[in-house]
Amino acid sequence: MTTVLERRARGRRVRLERPELLAPAGSLEKLKFAVHYGADAVYIGGQKYGLRSAADNFTFEEMREGVEFASRYGAKVFVATNIYAHNEDIEGLEDYLRNLQDVGIAAIIVADPLIVETAKRVAPKLEIHLSTQQSTMNWQAVQFWKDEGVERVVLAREASMAEIDEIKRHVDVEIEVFIHGAMCSSYSGRCVLSNHFTDRDSNRGGCCQSCRWKYDLFAGGTAAEGPIARDVPVFDEGDDPFMMSAKDLCMIEHIPDLIESGVDSFKIEGRMKSVHYVATVVNAYRQAIDAYFDDPERYELKREWLEEIYKAANRPVNTGFFYDEPGHEEHIFGPEDKAVQFDFVGLVTDYDADTGIATVQQRNYFKPGQEVEFFGPDGTHFKQIVEHLWDENGAELSAARHPLQPIRLKTAAPVKPFDMMRKRTGPKQ
C-alpha cells in the first residue's frame, strides 16, 4: 500500500503503512462488487483444494476475468487452497497451482505444508500466505514459516492484540488477521464434529456447522458416585440449549488499534455471504481506514459505519479474542436472532442525469409506496419512497417481481452503476 504515516503508537515510534483490506468473493459478481466497493484484494475459491465445497467456486476462466477486473482497480486476487490434503488429493495439485499462476493469481492461502512446498517448486510467482487453519499464534512459529519462504501469515483468531504486537515486534513478515465475520469457535482445523455427525470432512470443505446445532448437557458423575448421581441434566425445563456457536467478529470500532498494531492485511470473512453483505461491509471498513489515514489525530468512529454493518450483519457481533477471552455474552446459546434488517432489492445499472431516472436490475420484490435506501462506494447514501416503476419499454408496473428484470424509476438523487438499493425487512408495508 502506498500511504505511509509516521506516528507514535503505544509508546513507540512506528511507520504505519495503509493496511490491505481483504474481502471474500464467492463468485465473479461478488468479486466485482468487493473490488468496486473498496477492497484492495479479494480471496476466492477454485474448483479444488478450498474449504468451501458448497460455495459457487471459480473456474480458471472466471479467475482470469476476475484478475483482469481487479487489476483495473489495482486490486489483487488470492485463491484459498487451504485444505488439509489427504493422499488422494496430491495428484493434480501441481497442474492446479501452475494454472493459478498462469491466470494471474497473486497469492494462495495455504494450510498444508505439502501445498507450500509444491507451490514454491512449480508456481514460484504465487505468493504464499499461511492460512489461519494452521492456528499460528506465537512469534517462533511465525519465524519458522517465514524461514520456509512464506510471505504472509494469517494468525489464529485466538491471538490477542498484545500477542499480535509481540509477533510484529519479533518477526518481519506480513501479518494478516480476521477483522470481521463468522468465526469457528474451535481452534481452526481442530474440529471434526462434521466428520462424526455426518461423515463429511470438515478440513476438506465439508463442514456442516455442527457447532451451531443444539445440545443438551448432562452430568454423568463418576462411577464411584453410584447410579443416583448419573445423568443429571445441567439445565432446567425451558433453558436455552448448549451450543458451541460464537458470535461474529466485528472490529469496526477499533480500526486505529488495528492499524497501529502494524497488521498488514485486514481480512473480512464470508465467501458464502451475499453480494449485499460484501459490498456493505467492505464499504464501511474502507471508509474507516481511509478516514484514519486522512487525519489520524482527529479520527472518530462514525455512527453510520456501525449502522451500515448492522444492516448486513447475520448475527450479533463482538471483538473475539482481541481484547479479552470471550465470555458468556460472546456466544450464542438458544435461538439465533436474525439480525439482518435489510434486503438487497436492486442493483443500479444505469442513470440518466437529464431525466433523473435510474435503471435498476431487480434483486428482490419491491413496489411503489415502499421506502428504499440507495448506497454506493462513492458516497451515494439516501432514502426515498418508491414512486412509479416502469419496465424497459416504458410500461408501468405495479411491483418489481421478476428476478433480474431491468426496472426504471426516478431517484431522489443521482446514482451510479454498482450502487445498490435495499429495503427494510419485516412487516409488509
Binding site: S53, Y84, A85, H86, N87, D89, I90, D112, P113, L114, E117, M137, N138, Q140, A141, F144, W145, A159, E163, E166, S185, S186, Y187, G189, R190, C191, V192, L193, N195, H196, F197, D199, R200, D201, N203, G206, S210, W213, Y215, D216, L217, F218, A219, G220, G221, T222, F235, D236, D239, P241, F242, M244, F321, E325, P326, G327, H328, E330, H331, F333
Partner: protein, 311 residues
C-alpha cells in the same frame, strides 16, 4: 516383521509403572501447560525418577508438547525441553513449529514425533516434517486404513507411523471456556463449579439422543470427545501388515483398570501375531475382557478405519 510398539498416555508415576507392567512399550506423559488432554500431570521433576524406572523395564517415555503455543509458553520452552532431555525422555510429541525450533536449539538429542491431531492427514506433509527432523508421524484419527497403509508404505524407512487403535478421540477443541459461559448464560454462578473430566459431563445432540459426547474444560479450553471408542483389536493384524510402527491406546477419561485390561489384550494380540503370523488365531477372550469393562453407553467402533468421507 518388526514388532509394533504399544503406546499409552499415563497421568502419574504410578500409572507409568502400572501400564509398563501391563505390557506398554512406550508411555506418553506431560504437563498440561504444554500437552493436551493428558490423563494427568507428570511434571519434569517427577520424570527424573520415572524415566530411568521405565527404561529399566525396557519402556520408552515420550513427552506431549502438542498444545497450540502462545508467546508466553514459547518463552518457557527452552528450559522445559532441557529438563525433559536431562530426565532422559526419549521423544517429544509436537504440532507447533515453535516446539521443533526449541528442541533443535536446546535439546537436539530428543527425537521428534509430529502430531497435529486432526490435521496430520497425508504422507507428503509428514515427510515435510520428516525433513525438519521428525522421525514419526502421529496420523489423524479421521484417516481410513487405505490412507494409513499408503502413508506407511510411502514413508517406509524414513518415518514411523503411529495410529490410535483404541479409545476415544478428541473431536473439538476451543480456547473458549464454553461450559463456564453456558452456566453464566443460564444465570447461574460458574464460580466454584467443576468442569473437569471427573464430573462426567456429556453432550447429547438433540437429533441423536443415543450418542453421548464427553465434554470438559481445562486450562487449554473446552474439549469435546467422541461418543464411541475405537477398538481395532480384532483387526490388528491388518494394521501390522500395513507396516504401522506404533499403536496407541488412548487412556483419557478411562479408569486405570480399564486401561490395564486393554493393554493386556492388545499386548497378547500383538505378541501372538508377531510370533506366528500364519498360524495366528484371534482369541475372543482378549475382546471379552475389554467388553466386560466397556461403559454401556459407549459403543466400541472401528472409528474411521473403514469409512470413506465426503466433502
Amino acid at each position: 516383521m518388526n514388532k509394533p510398539e504399544l503406546l499409552i498416555p499415563a497421568g502419574s508415576a504410578e500409572q507409568m509403572a502400572a501400564y509398563a507392567e501391563a505390557g506398554a512399550d512406550a508411555l506418553l506423559v506431560g504437563d498440561k501447560r504444554y500437552g493436551l488432554r493428558l490423563p494427568g500431570d507428570v511434571p519434569a521433576e517427577a520424570l527424573r525418577r520415572a524415566v530411568p524406572e521405565a527404561h529399566k523395564a525396557g519402556v520408552k517415555v515420550y513427552a506431549a508438547l502438542n498444545h497450540i503455543m502462545d508467546n508466553d509458553t514459547v518463552r518457557t520452552l527452552p528450559d522445559y525441553v532441557k529438563e525433559l532431555a536431562a530426565a532422559g525422555v526419549d521423544a517429544v510429541v509436537y504440532g507447533d513449529p515453535a516446539v521443533l525450533a526449541a528442541v533443535k536449539a536446546h535439546a537436539p538429542q530428543l527425537a521428534l514425533h509430529w502430531n497435529a491431531e486432526m490435521t496430520s492427514t497425508n504422507w507428503a506433509t509428514a515427510s515435510f516434517w520428516g525433513r525438519k527432523g521428525a522421525t514419526r508421524v502421529v496420523a489423524a484419527r479421521e484417516l481410513n486404513l487405505e490412507e494409513l497403509a499408503e502413508m506407511a508404505s510411502r514413508l517406509k524407512g524414513v518415518m514411523e507411523v503411529e495410529v490410535q487403535v483404541h479409545g476415544m478421540t478428541n473431536i473439538y477443541h476451543s480456547k473458549r471456556k464454553l461450559l463456564h459461559n453456558y452456566t453464566e448464560h443460564l444465570g447461574r454462578p460458574s464460580e466454584g463449579q467443576s468442569y473437569n473430566p471427573e464430573r462426567g459431563l456429556y453432550l447429547v445432540e438433540q437429533e441423536r439422543p443415543t450418542e453421548r459426547f464427553p465434554i470438559y474444560e481445562d486450562e487449554s479450553g473446552t474439549h469435546v470427545m467422541s461418543s464411541d471408542d475405537i477398538c481395532m483389536l480384532e483387526n490388528l493384524p491388518e494394521l501390522m501388515d500395513a507396516g504401522i510402527a506404533s499403536f496407541k491406546i488412548e487412556s483419557v477419561l478411562k479408569s486405570a483398570e480399564y486401561n490395564i485390561a486393554a493393554l493386556r489384550s492388545y499386548r497378547a494380540c500383538i505378541d501372538a501375531y508377531c510370533t506366528d503370523p500364519a498360524g495366528f488365531t484371534f482369541d475372543q477372550t482378549w475382546l471379552e475382557t475389554i467388553q466386560a469393562l466397556q461403559p454401556s453407553d459407549r459403543e466400541l467402533s472401528y472409528g474411521f478405519f473403514y469409512k470413506e468421507q465426503v466433502y
